[in-house]
């Protein structure tokens, strides 16, 4: 079932009674989630991700705009008639019910013609439990399970009624790092096996990148970019997206374009074409630095962090906007980093230019992209 959002907007009245200012949590959303895909809604805290999710689930009514499931307009339907499964950040498992009773709960709500026979319910519950691999824990109470297992129960409860759309609200944020890695693969597997269109809210860019078919990056209720994970990283639409994705984050310099050359501070680093002379922001991914004694970017070395396969060179540059540069280079080059100065050459396809005022990506020509 594809999901279409048309001009979707949600305004909340201001918390502060004195000011009449409204908070726009979701501002004019337009996008289509293709059938059977997993979409990651990504953005910092308070950007309206969860609001967007609740608008799809029907728990919130939009101020304006429409929500379509397939060709059906569901904007005015209450959540129970939309056929959505929702997984909450804290799982919201009923603590007094066993795993089996929890998963069966949505099925027991069905009435009339939709009501399943007892055997059919049992079968569906077992099926859902087996899908998330907790079939052997049916008689446990939620409090007797680990966080990861509780998460699985929550997913089983959401998929047992075969929803058209599965919505996950920060499903991994209550898990420890190792479990998070495991569970996100699990979510991906479950999504693939069931083929349910899934929307996944997270503030963790790595999480979003690793399992989504498409990423929607949000900021202050406004969509910044919708693209495949790799494209969002390689081809950011603006400085915010570039900064938000990637660890360590992108290094941002004050730069300028003069006569077809890109300057970072006074260092003439790369040729550019088709860009008029102007001040710009220059974003360089950490892996975009190449250690080169004769490289054009002259930095002051602060330190080196060893990470095993790679090393991270921490350095300073007068034109840097931020505290320090982080450059990731292969570990075998470590011995070359000594002394107070370190010079880099830049990989052109890892360098992005942004307008100084609007912070929008400068695309025409820009840095001459070699083959990545």
């Amino acid at each position: 079932m594809k999901v279409v959002l048309q001009n979707l907007t949600k305004r909340f009245p201001s918390r502060n009674k004195k000011s009449s200012e409204e908070v726009i949590a979701v501002n004019d959303f337009n996008f289509e989630i293709p059938d059977g895909k997993l979409i990651g809604l990504l953005g910092p805290s308070g950007c309206g991700k969860s609001t967007a999710l609740n608008l799809i689930s029907g728990l919130l009514k939009p101020t304006s705009g429409r929500v379509l499931f397939g060709d059906d307009d569901v904007t005015d339907l209450p959540p129970e008639l939309r056929g959505v499964g929702l997984v909450f950040q804290n799982y919201a498992l009923y603590p007094h019910l066993t795993v089996k009773e929890n998963i069966m709960f949505p099925l027991e709500n069905l009435k009339g013609a939709n009501r399943l026979s007892k055997e059919e319910m049992e079968r569906r519950v077992q099926q859902a439990a087996d899908l998330v691999q907790i079939g052997h824990l049916m008689e446990r109470k939620p409090s007797e399970m680990s966080g990861g297992q509780q998460q699985r129960v929550a997913i089983a409860r959401a998929v047992v009624k075969l929803p058209k759309v599965l919505l996950l609200d920060e499903p991994l944020s209550n898990l420890d790092a190792r479990l998070r890695l495991q569970t996100r693969e699990e979510i991906r597997r479950i999504q693939r096996e069931t083929g349910i269109t899934t929307v996944f809210v997270t503030h963790d860019q790595e999480e979003a990148m690793s399992i989504s078919d498409m990423i929607v990056v949000m900021k202050d209720g406004v969509i910044q970019q919708i693209d495949q994970p790799q494209s969002v990283y390689d081809d950011p639409a603006n400085l915010f997206v570039a900064k938000f994705l990637g660890t360590p984050p992108i290094n941002v310099f004050e730069g300028s374009v003069k006569n077809g050359r890109l300057f970072i501070g006074s260092d003439d680093v790369l040729p550019v074409s088709g860009v008029a002379d102007r001040p710009v922001w220059v974003g360089v991914r950490p892996e975009g630095f190449v250690l080169d004694e004769n490289g054009p970017l002259q930095c002051e070395r602060i330190g080196v962090e060893v990470m095993g396969r790679d090393i991270s060179v921490v350095a300073k540059h007068p034109a840097l906007s931020g505290i320090s540069i982080r450059a990731i280079i292969p570990a075998e080059h470590a011995p070359k980093v000594n002394g107070n100065a370190v010079c880099f050459a830049l990989k052109p396809y890892k360098v992005h230019l942004f307008e100084r005022d609007s912070e929008v990506r400068i695309r025409e020509g820009g840095v001459q992209h070699g083959t990545p």
């Binding site: 728990l59 959540p79 499964g85 804290n90 007094h96 409860r157």
Partner: protein
């Protein structure tokens, strides 16, 4: 070594509380138990005739005690469920309204902070017929074509009705307060999850809300039982001090009468009645605890 020192310190800190508890709680309790077996104990001369179960036998054959026992049981059986269920209904209603919630919360809490005498006065105006008026309730009954009933000095059921009404009225505010805060503390995600799954309102209430606040309900039921068994002052406020004559005595009232009332000066009988009350309350509480194991979810 250090452990032992710590133990000593702990006991030292506990000492003041232990001394007071021992002196004013444990010792009197044991004493009451002893009195209840001492036949014909006289507190002035500190003498008694013998040891045995005569006190219990006397109390259990005393028609006043049996009347008090009956009254207390009726009071408990009616007021505990009625006040708890009413409080639950009111709390759920309070929890689901937005406008004027604070106003209604205050209204429902007023009886708790109102002076007992003032409440008594209100009940007089409501129920007591005087030379000038039949009381508000009787006026209403009459306007519907009924005949006036004397609720204060009339038939037994009318007096019992007033006593139950009064008790429910005075114990409910506290229950409403506890239950509204219990309801407010249920995580709204549970309701959202249930809503997405298409759960009916009634099912949400009895499958989610009730189990979630069951510890609080259980607490109110237990304390409600104990409180109702100990009822006395409410009856006095309504029917005056001669409760035996009004057929409205309670067990605690009987104990009081045996000690200080017109027929007073019988600490042995009073002790026996008090021990009987203790046994009843203890039994009921144990039954409550056993039943609750199945239905209360912590």
């Amino acid at each position: 070594m250090e452990r032992r020192e710590n133990n000593l310190k702990a006991w030292l800190y506990l000492l003041p509380a232990m001394v007071f508890l021992g002196l004013f709680m444990v010792y009197p309790l044991l004493d009451v138990f002893v009195y209840s077996f001492e036949e014909g104990y006289n507190s002035a001369s500190q003498t008694f005739f013998g040891v045995g179960v005569y006190n219990y036998s006397y109390v259990l054959h005393d028609p006043y005690f049996l009347q008090a026992l009956k009254n207390t049981f009726i009071l408990v059986v009616i007021t505990v469920p009625v006040s708890t269920i009413l409080a639950l209904v009111i709390s759920v209603a309070l929890n689901s309204i937005q406008t004027l919630r604070n106003f209604f919360q205050t209204v429902y809490f007023l009886p708790y902070v109102t002076n007992t005498l003032a409440v008594g006065l209100v009940f007089m105006i409501l129920f007591k017929p005087t030379a000038y008026s039949d009381g508000l309730v009787n006026l209403i009954i009459k306007s519907f074509g009924g005949t006036a009933v004397d609720f204060i000095e009339g038939p037994y059921w009318a007096k019992m009705f007033v006593l139950c009404f009064y008790t429910v009225w005075t114990v409910m505010p506290f229950k409403v307060l506890i239950l509204t805060s219990a309801l407010a503390s249920v995580n709204p995600d549970y309701y959202n999850a249930a809503k997405v799954d298409g759960t009916s309102k009634w099912r949400i209430f009895h499958r989610i809300t009730l189990p979630m606040i069951s510890p609080m309900i259980f607490y109110l039921v237990i304390t409600g039982f104990i409180g109702a068994f100990k009822a006395y002052s409410d009856a006095v406020a309504l029917f005056g001090t001669n409760l035996n004559a009004a057929e409205m005595n309670t067990i605690v009232g009987y104990v009081y009468d045996m000690l200080y009332g017109d027929s007073g000066g019988y600490p042995s009988f009073a002790s026996a009645a008090a021990i009987l009350l203790f046994a009843i309350v203890m039994t009921i509480t144990c039954v409550n605890l056993t039943v609750s194991k199945k239905h209360v979810h912590y």
